[in-house]
Symmetry: none
Amino acid sequence: MSASKRQPRRRGRPQGDEVKVAILKAANELLEEQGYSGFTIEAVAARAGAARSTIYRWWPNRGALAMAGFLSETAPKIAYKWTKSPISDIKKQMMVVAEVYSGKVGRTISALVAQSQRDPETLKALLEGYVQPRREEAKRVLMRGIECGELRKNIDLDIVVDSLYGPIWYRIVVPHAPISARWAGKLADQVFRGLRPE
Amino acid sequence: MSASKRQPRRRGRPQGDEVKVAILKAANELLEEQGYSGFTIEAVAARAGAARSTIYRWWPNRGALAMAGFLSETAPKIAYKWTKSPISDIKKQMMVVAEVYSGKVGRTISALVAQSQRDPETLKALLEGYVQPRREEAKRVLMRGIECGELRKNIDLDIVVDSLYGPIWYRIVVPHAPISARWAGKLADQVFRGLRPE
Amino acid sequence: MSASKRQPRRRGRPQGDEVKVAILKAANELLEEQGYSGFTIEAVAARAGAARSTIYRWWPNRGALAMAGFLSETAPKIAYKWTKSPISDIKKQMMVVAEVYSGKVGRTISALVAQSQRDPETLKALLEGYVQPRREEAKRVLMRGIECGELRKNIDLDIVVDSLYGPIWYRIVVPHAPISARWAGKLADQVFRGLRPE
Amino acid sequence: MSASKRQPRRRGRPQGDEVKVAILKAANELLEEQGYSGFTIEAVAARAGAARSTIYRWWPNRGALAMAGFLSETAPKIAYKWTKSPISDIKKQMMVVAEVYSGKVGRTISALVAQSQRDPETLKALLEGYVQPRREEAKRVLMRGIECGELRKNIDLDIVVDSLYGPIWYRIVVPHAPISARWAGKLADQVFRGLRPE
DNA sequence: GTCTAAACGAGACGGTACGTCCGGTCTTACA
DNA sequence: TGTAAGACCGGACGTACCGTCTCGTTTAGAC
């Protein structure tokens, strides 16, 4: 029968997306507004109008919830859009990123980093769900830069990525000075100056 | 002249250095062993053989205690010793620092960073008590490098420091890959390549 | 008619009577055994096998818990049962009360009185929950005594009640001499001798 | 040496009564003003301008201090002065006592009673230092009353004293209604009515 | 249309750590 | 030696959340 191949479709009430969305939204807002303190399961539940138990049904602990909130709402906003010459692209993207990170998103990220220190699961999610994919993306662009001759051949891509993004994360979590697009641009210039073909 | 050194010596029972030292030592050990979770006032008190109230007499909250423990014990271990050519000095020091940070100290630092996200006082202490002084020190060495011609004149010292140490902090708090002296050396090489006089 | 008794049954998990009962029982035992010192929220929680937070969910502080324990367990044991001639009834009841108060219940009461000195809420609860109701009951019996001619008409009921029960409370909280049924009997005799119709 | 025959005159600084007096005064004021809560060793020390350790030198714990404060300052103020016919004397004295107890002294006494519940030493001091002497005094007056024919011969003095003073203490520690001289007078009248010779 | 199992809200519960308060002891400097 | 100052241990307080659990209610799909 043709219908036999349909997905089994379990019995009871289906999951009702609105609740989940409301929870993630609330989680995000709290992270943005108050950072990691204030990001309480109780506070999220209250703001979302959901029950604490519902949150625990879908996420194992508050680290996971924080990550999910970030990935679902914030991360998409800062997606890369690669277009022109690799070096110029990266520089422009870094300036955009710096701009975005200097605001609420920075608070969210530092909250996630903080939570990662105590919860290995959160760390894993942060690395695999956010950091690694973006590093890979950056490396691909850098390879294009090598191919088209903008960059030296014998560079260590990981170190370059560390050089480009490390300082940004550094200033997010150790805010000894504000982050600005201008600063990010000068940072990119300096890094790339050391990567020009001889 | 002899009377000039007379310290006033306050009235009551003097502070009994052993207790304070034991507390800081215990605080450090717990930070190193277990990171920020497990770093509990109660645990510190128990390990130090002190009363919780004694801890609260001297430090207002656990963030402050964590910072104090770090500054008193760990920080001295990774003091700089500048000697020879600035570039070479910095590279060698970065490799040492990377080595040290890759172990227990890294865990302590990431714990402090985490705590800084929720407690502004801890952040302030971290910046003023550790980050800023070390940045200043690094900048002084870089200036020596400019003076002796190893480095370009028109460099932004803050950005250079960010480039050198940002990636290290980044890898401490976002451990996507291990920290090693070799990695730090290559990082230094790459940064300095962009700073050579034309 | 049958639907009229429909209790609304609130939403969440119902209250689980066993816990509350266990807590009150433990509270009572501790009050009886050790008086007010030793009556610690922690001790009650430990003996009841409950969490401290559960106790605080239902009672705002330890005074309230002490009162609740007393009212739930001890108070019922010393309820009055009025039967025959009012004077004789009261005398017999006083002897019973003296007997009961001379034991563990006395310790509980003096503990409550002690707590009342520092916590106005406990005082309020003691007065409204125990003292006043029993005074009213006694006054009702005395009025019956007036009606049936056993007692003078022009007596001040409050003063009579003070005369009858005041000495008993006095000996509970200021134990200059033991309380006994015999003593209570003689006390009643003496008071009533002054209340006979001329 | 001729100086050897001088009075022994112990070595160091003599004891300086002022401190002790100031401490007792402060203790009393705190008891009167705030009852038993608020009566803190620290508070007493602060108000007296003395050191906590000085208090502990002279009194073993706060119960003892409270008792000492009461006995030294408050108790003398409410001493009896027997003059005329025993019955009339007692009635008048009860009215005075009621008047005094209804104010600050009442608060002090109930604080002492409260403390007696947890500290046997305080109880002992209260009984032996205040309650028993005054009971003995009252009994002596009552015996005079018997001798001069105002009172029956076959009365139990202890019960009479309980009847007279028990209600007053009762209303102090269980303030279900205010204490007044008028109330005390009526109370005395009623008790003595039952003690008239046949 | 009814049945039914999952989703969901509500909230009780055992725990753990917090930061505070205070008691009582002990150690020092000064008079 | 008495006193002031104050460090120290210890224990209970009441608070805030955590994560688990047990209910009653709702609801979309299966029958």
